[in-house]
């Protein structure tokens, strides 16, 4: 008796999104990065195509590393006051992209002006050849002034800019359309809202193929499980033909891991947890791998050791082209 086939096939695929532009494409990046394109559930290499491996971006913050755990900070000595140097180092570490977080624009972080933030963007672009993610501060009053200016100075670089939210998406959408950038749609752990943000962006002229979804991120317990379920559900709907859920996901794993007590408490305080030097990067890489299994395509990390570990794991488990 023949063994029945257990292969599943889906009617649709996840969108491919390319970030960055080389000189031939009107930008100055040394390479571009494409994510997405999967035709099946994550890692199911025996039944689907996975044309692009997930991408790893390293976070660079223009507000420095105050408040970051020592285990991450120690890699960033001499870098954290200079976004250009920091970004160049990310390239050296082997990142695929740089994610510039404009935290300093927030009034609580010094209220760096739009022009100053635009200078930060320029410095990163000048010092590093990787494609760029530009990420605001989650405050519409700030973002709607700062992000358009940053979009402008990065015009032609085909960056990924975020984030657009249900209540606040028009300004960023207009800036991305005007200056040729891709856009991140944010919906905190809510699949209905993710879909609604996508439809709203489409209404103002953004192609659904230029959107990357940000479901927010969890790096422990229920937080992670909820995000995982939302992503899994969206992925199944997208693969089954829902064009408003066929966008790849970006996840801020580094930032989220830095909130997790278990990933940063030193061994002296919790001897049974073992060395924090081993635990911190492992937690970050393992969280990314967990979310990879739910459909994550773009991971923003902080710890370069986590980058190395995740890369090594991806090389091992990512389905090779048939």
């Amino acid at each position: 008796m023949p063994v029945p086939s257990v292969k599943e096939s889906f009617s649709a695929a996840i969108n491919e999104v390319t970030i960055g532009a080389t000189s031939g494409e009107g930008g100055t990046r040394s390479r571009t990065v494409t994510i997405g394109g999967d035709t099946g559930l994550p890692l199911a290499g025996f039944e689907a195509e996975f044309p692009n491996p997930p991408a790893i971006a390293m976070e660079v913050s223009n507000a420095g590393v105050e408040g970051w755990p020592p285990e991450v900070k120690r890699h960033l000595e001499g870098l954290s006051q200079d976004v250009g140097k920091w970004a160049a180092k990310c390239e050296e570490w082997g990142a695929d992209m740089v994610c510039l977080r404009l935290r300093a624009a927030h009034p609580d972080e010094g209220g760096r002006s739009a022009d100053q933030c635009a200078d930060d963007v320029k410095r990163v672009l000048e010092n590093c050849g990787l494609p760029l993610i530009i990420w605001g501060v989650d405050d519409p009053e700030v973002d709607n002034v700062v992000l358009p200016r940053c979009a402008q100075v990065a015009s032609g670089e085909n960056c990924l800019m975020g984030t657009a939210k249900e209540k606040d998406y028009r300004t960023l959408a207009a800036a991305c359309l005007a200056d040729g950038h891709k856009i991140i749609g944010e919906a905190p752990c809510d699949i209905n809202l993710s879909k609604q943000v996508n439809i709203l962006l489409e209404d103002v002229g953004v192609s659904v193929e230029d959107i990357v979804m940000y479901p927010t991120t969890g790096a422990l317990g229920f937080g992670m499980i909820y995000i995982y379920s939302v992503m899994e559900r969206a992925r199944l709907a997208g693969l089954s033909g829902d064009k408003l859920l066929q966008q790849p996901f970006v996840l801020t794993v580094g930032e989220e891991t830095c909130r997790v007590k278990e990933a940063k408490t030193p061994e002296e305080e919790e001897p049974s947890w073992g060395s924090v030097r081993a635990r911190a990067p492992l937690w970050e890489a393992a969280t990314a791998l967990g979310l990879l299994d739910a459909g994550g395509e773009l991971f923003v990390l902080r710890n370069p050791e986590a980058l190395a570990q995740l890369r090594e794991a991806l090389d091992r488990i990512w389905p090779k082209a048939q």
């Binding site: 209905n192 809202l193 439809i199 559900r233 829902d242 064009k243």
Partner: protein, 263 residues
């Protein structure tokens, strides 16, 4: 759900005239209007037109193909017309339809396999439409068996449990829904289910209302598609909402528009 637009049918006067005068513009317009309204496929039926049925059918297919690459649901009772039509049709094809007699099933399932078409099979045999659930289920089982024997993919098979007008067959709607529920369990993966919706309200006064409510009810029983008036906005919204409530779509506030854009 598979929405098959019913308007390209020689039964409608404007279409009949267009076929007889070879007026492509009218056919293009009828096709495009249904697709804009959300139709996934178009029924193609020459109806009682003058001239040779095959010629009219081939002209109609060619004309519709000029404006869409959606599935064409070739609707003719004549086997030879069906053969010619399927061979001429470049769009995805759906055969409408075969009855559940052994002889017809053998002919049509073979034709479906040969032409790589999907197939609608009615639960009608030499004695007509069954007056109960069991008759429909028995015929449904015969249809699935014959399709399997012919090597058809069962998800390509649409069983039509035949809805009769509710004013003459008041138990029809419940029989159809119960037959769908039972036949869904027949195979894994199950066949699909489809009805010619407008029939339920034929000669009734409240046609739109009856169509709309029955479609929502049948979707909850497991209906996968309908030949229907896709340009009836209320009807489309009822179908989209019924599918949402059956968790066939993920909710968002603009779910109607989201569904239509995803076509």
């Amino acid at each position: 759900m598979l929405v098959i637009g019913e308007r390209i049918n020689g039964m409608f006067r404007n279409v009949r005239r267009a076929i007889e005068n070879k007026d492509k513009a009218i056919i293009h317009q009828v096709a495009e209007r249904q697709i804009e309204a959300g139709a996934d496929a178009l029924d193609i039926n020459v109806g009682p037109t003058r001239g040779k049925a095959t010629d009219n059918m081939l002209w109609l297919i060619e004309t519709v193909q000029e404006v869409t690459d959606k599935t064409l649901c070739i609707d003719t009772p004549k086997f030879d017309v069906m053969q010619e039509a399927l061979r001429a049709c470049e769009n995805p094809r759906l055969i409408n339809s075969t009855k559940a007699t052994e002889e017809e099933l053998e002919k049509y399932t073979a034709l479906a396999v040969e032409t790589n078409s999907r197939l609608i099979a009615l639960t009608i045999d030499a004695r007509g439409v069954p007056a109960d659930v069991d008759g429909r289920v028995a015929m449904g089982a015969t249809i699935v068996t014959k399709a399997m024997e012919a090597g058809m993919g069962i998800p390509d098979l649409y069983i039509d449990p035949v809805i009769l007008p509710v004013n003459v067959a008041p138990k029809g709607p419940e029989h159809v829904m119960e037959a769908i529920r039972q036949l869904k369990l027949l195979s894994d993966p199950p066949p699909k289910f489809l009805i010619g919706l407008s029939n339920v309200s034929q000669s009734c006064r409240e046609t739109h209302l009856i169509n709309r409510i029955f479609l929502a009810m049948a979707i909850s029983a497991g209906l996968d598609g309908a030949i229907m008036d896709a340009t009836d906005r209320d009807l489309m919204e009822a179908a989209i909402t019924a599918e949402l409530l059956m968790e066939k779509q993920i909710y968002c506030d603009d779910y109607v528009s989201a569904y239509l854009r995803s076509r």
